[in-house]
C-alpha cells in the first residue's frame, strides 16, 4: 500500500527555526531529599540516584532513594497527619487547600511544564498544553467535591480510608500525581506518593508547592526510589489503600501482595486499544485521530490507540494519508515548541521498543518509519507503522508503550468488533464513522472503560477513566473517581 503518486514533499525550503522554551526560570535543585512530614529529609541509608534528561542523557538532579524504613517514616507521618489534622479539618477547608494548590500550579505552570519536559522527554507543547493544565484542573475539580461528598453516593455515608499509598508511572508524572492526590485529599485521606524512578522531579516540585501552600505537614509525602520503594509502600501495613498506575504485570503483583490484608486498591494498568476506522468516517480527521492516538506522548500512553483497525475499502487511502501525515511530525528537542514527538523516556524503554521493532519484522510485518532526522544524544524513536500484521502477532497483542502502530484491516462491523475485543486488555477504544447509530452500537460493544468516538486521547478531570478486564480495577476522574478513596457505609 504505497503513497499514491505523485507524492507531496514536506522537505520544504521554508522550515521552522528552533524555538526552544527557555529553561531559565525553572529551578531544579542539585539534590532532593524525601518529602516527609512537610519537609525534605535525607534518606536513611540508601543515598541518592541521578535523574537524567532523556533528550541529552545528562543528569538533572540527584534524588533520594527511599528504603522500607524511609517509607515507614512517610506512612507514620501520613497517619499522624490523618489523625491529628486532615480528618479533623472541615471538608470545605480541605477543599480550599486543593483550590489553592490548583491556583499555585497555574501560576507556576510554565516552570512545571519545562521541568516535566526536561525530566521525562515529552514535548513542551504537550506538557504546556495538556499535562500541567489538566493537573491544575484536576485539583480544581476535586477541590469542589471535598464538602459535597454526601451528594455523590445516595443512600450511603462516605468516610475516608485513611492513608493512601500511591504509585505513579513515568509517562504523565505530574498529571498522574494530580489524578492520585487530588481525589485522595478531597475525600479526607492523606497520601504517600511514590513517583516513577525516571521522572521524580515534578512530584518533588509539587511537594515544594504544597509546602508553599501551607498544606499541613504529612498530608502529602513523597518517597522517591525504584520498584523496591514502591514494593515497600505496598507491603506497609499502615497503608489503608494502594492506588497504582503502571503495568499489568506489576498490578498483578500488587493484587497478590494485598490479598487477605483487607486493604483497598485501585489499579490502572496496561492497554492495547483498537482504533477502528470505518469506510464512512471523516477520513482526514480519522487520520489525525490515529496520529494523536499513537504518537501522543511518544506512544507512552496506556490508552494509546496502538492497534489500528481500518476497513479494507479505505485501508490504502488511510494508510497513505497516515504516512504523509507522519512526514510532517517533528521529532526532537522536547523543549522546542515545534516538537511533536519528544524523547523516549529512558534507555530501557527505548530498548524495549526496539526489541518490538525487531519482533514485528521477524514476525513478517512490514515496517514503515517516517524520514525525519533524529538528534544525536538522547533516546529517540521515529514514528513507526506495521502493516501486514495479524492478531496472532506479538506487536498486535502486547503493549509496546512507544510510537509504534500495528495496522490491520477488516471487512465487516462484526470482524472489527471481534478483533477489538480479542485482547486481555480493556482500557480504551476508538471508533470513526459518520453514522450515529453505528457509533452507539460499536461504543457499546467495545469492552473498554473509555471509548472515543470520532476523537481520541481526550482527558478531563470530570471524565472517569479506567479499564475493563486486565486494564485495571476502579476509575479515576469524575464522580466515579471518588469511590476509590472512600468507604461507603
Amino acid at each position: 500500500m504505497a503513497i499514491p503518486e505523485p507524492k507531496l514533499r514536506f522537505d520544504t525550503d521554508w522550515t521552522y527555526a528552533p524555538a526552544p522554551e527557555s529553561a531559565d526560570h525553572a529551578r531544579i535543585d542539585p539534590q532532593y531529599g524525601l518529602f516527609i512530614g512537610g519537609e525534605f529529609v535525607a534518606p536513611r541509608a540508601r543515598g541518592y540516584f541521578e535523574t537524567i534528561n532523556p533528550a541529552s542523557e545528562k543528569a538533572l538532579a540527584r534524588v533520594a532513594r527511599a528504603d522500607a524504613r524511609d517509607v515507614d517514616r512517610a506512612v507514620v507521618a501520613a497517619r499522624r497527619a490523618y489523625e491529628r489534622a486532615w480528618s479533623k479539618l472541615r471538608p470545605a477547608e480541605r477543599g480550599k487547600y486543593l483550590y489553592r494548590i490548583a491556583r499555585m500550579l497555574q501560576e507556576r505552570a510554565r516552570e512545571f511544564a519545562v521541568i516535566e519536559s526536561l525530566d521525562g522527554g515529552k514535548p513542551i507543547r504537550e506538557s504546556r498544553d495538556v499535562d500541567v493544565p489538566l493537573a491544575a484542573a484536576h485539583f480544581f475539580y476535586y477541590a469542589g467535591w471535598a464538602d459535597k461528598l454526601e451528594y455523590a453516593f445516595p443512600g450511603r455515608r462516605a468516610a475516608p480510608l485513611g492513608v493512601a499509598g500511591q504509585i505513579i508511572p513515568w509517562n504523565f508524572p505530574l498529571l498522574m500525581a494530580a489524578w492520585k492526590i487530588a481525589p485522595a485529599l478531597a475525600c479526607g485521606n492523606t497520601v504517600v506518593l511514590k513517583p516513577a524512578e525516571t521522572t521524580p522531579l515534578t512530584a518533588l516540585k509539587l511537594a515544594e508547592l504544597m509546602r508553599d501552600a501551607d498544606l499541613p505537614p504529612g498530608v502529602v509525602n513523597v518517597v522517591t526510589g525504584a520498584g523496591d520503594t514502591g514494593a515497600a509502600l505496598v507491603e506497609h501495613g499502615g497503608v489503608d489503600k494502594i492506588a497504582f498506575t503502571g503495568s499489568t504485570e506489576i498490578g498483578r503483583l500488587i493484587m497478590r501482595r494485598l490479598a487477605g490484608t483487607g486493604r483497598h486498591y485501585t489499579l490502572e494498568l496496561g492497554g492495547k486499544a483498537a482504533n477502528i476506522v470505518f469506510a464512512d468516517a471523516a477520513i482526514d480527521q480519522a487520520v489525525e485521530g490515529i496520529v494523536n492516538g499513537i504518537f501522543f506522548n511518544q506512544g507512552h500512553v496506556c490508552c494509546a490507540g496502538s492497534r489500528l483497525l481500518v476497513q479494507e475499502s479505505v485501508a490504502a487511502e488511510v494508510i497513505a494519508k497516515l504516512k504523509e501525515r507522519m512526514e510532517t511530525l517533528i521529532v526532537g528537542d522536547p523543549l522546542d515548541k515545534n516538537t511533536d514527538i519528544g524523547a523516549i523516556n529512558s534507555a530501557a524503554q527505548l530498548e524495549k521498543i526496539r526489541s518490538y521493532l525487531k519482533i514485528g519484522q521477524a514476525e513478517g510485518g512490514e515496517m514503515y518509519q517516517s524520514s525525519c532526522p533524529l538528534p544525536g544524544a538522547g533516546y529517540w524513536c521515529r514514528p513507526t507503522l506495521f502493516t501486514g500484521v495479524a492478531q496472532s502477532n506479538r506487536v498486535v497483542q502486547e503493549e509496546i508503550f512507544g510510537p509504534v502502530l500495528a495496522i490491520q484491516t477488516f471487512r465487516s462491523f462484526e470482524e472489527a468488533l471481534d478483533k477489538a475485543n480479542n485482547t486481555p486488555y480493556g482500557l480504551s477504544g476508538g471508533v470513526w464513522t459518520d453514522k450515529g447509530a453505528k457509533i452507539f452500537r460499536m461504543t457499546r460493544a467495545i469492552r473498554a472503560g473509555v471509548v472515543w468516538a470520532n476523537t481520541f486521547n481526550k482527558f478531563d478531570p470530570s471524565s472517569p477513566f479506567g479499564g475493563y478486564k486486565e486494564s485495571g480495577v476502579g476509575r479515576e476522574g469524575g464522580l466515579h473517581g471518588l469511590a476509590a478513596y472512600l468507604e461507603l457505609r
Binding site: R9, W14, Y16, A17, D129, D284, T328, K337, N338
Partner: protein, 305 residues
C-alpha cells in the same frame, strides 16, 4: 492526463466527510507552531508575495485603483529584497486601469466576475462579463459559484456554469469562489471544492469578502485537503486562495504553516497560494521591519493606498 477528458461532475456522496471539531483541533495545532527569527522573516516575505492586493468597492474609481497599483509596485522601497505582491484584484471595469498601471512590473491583474459578489445573474451575462474582463487584460478571473443552486442541490448547474466560465476565460486562470460563509457546513465546503476542481478551477477561493464569516483556518484546511485528494487522484495541482478577514501577519503565518504541513513544498508559491487581502500587506511590512530593527512599528510609517 486528465485534462484531455471532458469534465464530469464527481460523485459528491463519495467525497470524504468532515468532522468540524476534529478540523478545529488540527487548526489549533497549526496555530501553536512557533515561527521565530529567520523563519519568520522568510515566511512573511513568502506571504507578501502571495497577496492579491484587493479593492472591490462600489466607490472604486480609476484614481483609487491607480493608487492601489502604486502600492503594489512600491510596497516599501526602503526595504530591499522584498518580493512584490502576486496580483491586484479589481472589478472588471477597472481591469484596464490596473493593467496599464502595473505594466512591466510582473504583477498580475485579477478581476472578479460573474455578477460578483452574489452571482445572481443569468449565465449569458456572466459569460459576457468574464470575456470582457479577459479582453481588458485580466490574467486571472475570480468567479463566484451559484450558491443558491448549490444549496438547492442543483450541483450539475453549478458545475456546468464553472465549466462554461472556464472556457470563457481562455488563457486566464480561473479562481472559483465558493463563498463558504454561505455554504454553512464544512461538509458542503468539501463537496463544493471537489465540484469546482473537477469543473476546471485553477484555484479555489473561500470568499468574496462581502459575507461573514469570510476565510477561516478550518474552512481553508478543508479546502487544502480537498486539493490534496484531487492532486493524488489526478496529478493536477490546484491553487488555494483564502480571502477576507486576513489582516494580520501572524494569522498569515498560521495559514502558511497549515499550507506547509498539508500540501508541502510544491504549494509554497504564489502560483498556487494567494491571500485575498487589502490591509495584510502593511501588517506584514510592519512585522518585517520589526524583525530587522527590533523595534515595534507604528502604522503611521507605512503607506496606505
Amino acid at each position: 492526463m486528465a485534462a484531455a477528458v471532458a469534465p464530469r461532475l464527481p460523485a459528491l456522496d463519495q467525497v470524504p466527510r468532515v468532522d468540524e471539531v476534529g478540523v478545529e483541533e488540527r487548526v489549533a495545532r497549526f496555530c501553536s507552531r512557533s515561527i521565530k527569527k529567520e523563519s519568520k522573516v522568510q515566511g512573511l516575505k513568502l506571504a507578501l508575495s502571495m497577496i492579491d492586493l484587493t479593492t472591490l468597492e462600489g466607490q472604486d474609481t480609476r484614481g483609487k485603483v491607480t493608487q492601489l497599483c502604486q502600492k503594489a509596485i512600491h510596497l516599501r522601497d526602503s526595504l530591499p529584497g522584498l518580493p512584490h505582491v502576486a496580483a491586484v484584484c479589481v472589478y472588471p471595469t477597472m481591469v484596464g486601469v490596473a493593467r496599464r498601471a502595473l505594466a512591466g512590473h510582473g504583477i498580475r491583474v485579477a478581476s472578479v466576475a460573474t455578477a460578483f459578489p452574489s452571482g445572481m445573474a443569468p449565465l449569458s451575462v456572466k459569460l459576457e462579463e468574464t470575456r470582457m474582463a479577459v479582453q481588458e487584460g485580466a490574467d486571472e478571473v475570480d468567479m463566484v459559484i451559484s450558491r443558491g443552486a448549490f444549496l438547492e442541490g442543483n450541483f450539475q448547474y453549478v458545475f456546468d456554469e464553472i465549466v462554461a466560465i472556464k472556457e470563457a476565460c481562455g488563457p486566464a486562470h480561473l479562481k472559483v469562489i465558493l463563498e463558504t460563509g454561505e455554504l454553512g457546513t464544512l461538509d458542503r465546503v468539501r463537496r463544493a471544492s471537489a465540484l469546482a476542481m473537477h469543473a476546471g478551477a485553477d484555484f479555489i477561493k473561500t470568499s468574496t469578502g462581502k459575507v461573514q464569516p469570510a476565510a477561516t483556518l478550518p474552512v481553508t484546511l478543508v479546502m487544502l485537503q480537498a486539493i490534496r485528494d484531487h492532486y493524488h487522484a489526478t496529478g493536477r495541482r490546484i491553487g488555494m486562495k483564502p480571502a477576507g478577514g486576513i489582516a494580520k501577519a501572524k494569522l498569515a503565518l498560521h495559514y502558511l504553516v497549515m499550507l506547509r504541513e498539508t500540501l508541502g513544498q510544491d504549494w509554497l508559491t504564489p502560483d498556487l497560494f494567494r491571500f485575498g487581502a487589502s490591509s495584510l500587506a502593511n501588517d506584514i511590512l510592519m512585522q518585517i521591519e520589526k524583525q530587522l530593527t527590533g523595534a515595534y512599528q507604528s502604522p503611521d510609517y507605512f503607506s496606505r493606498d
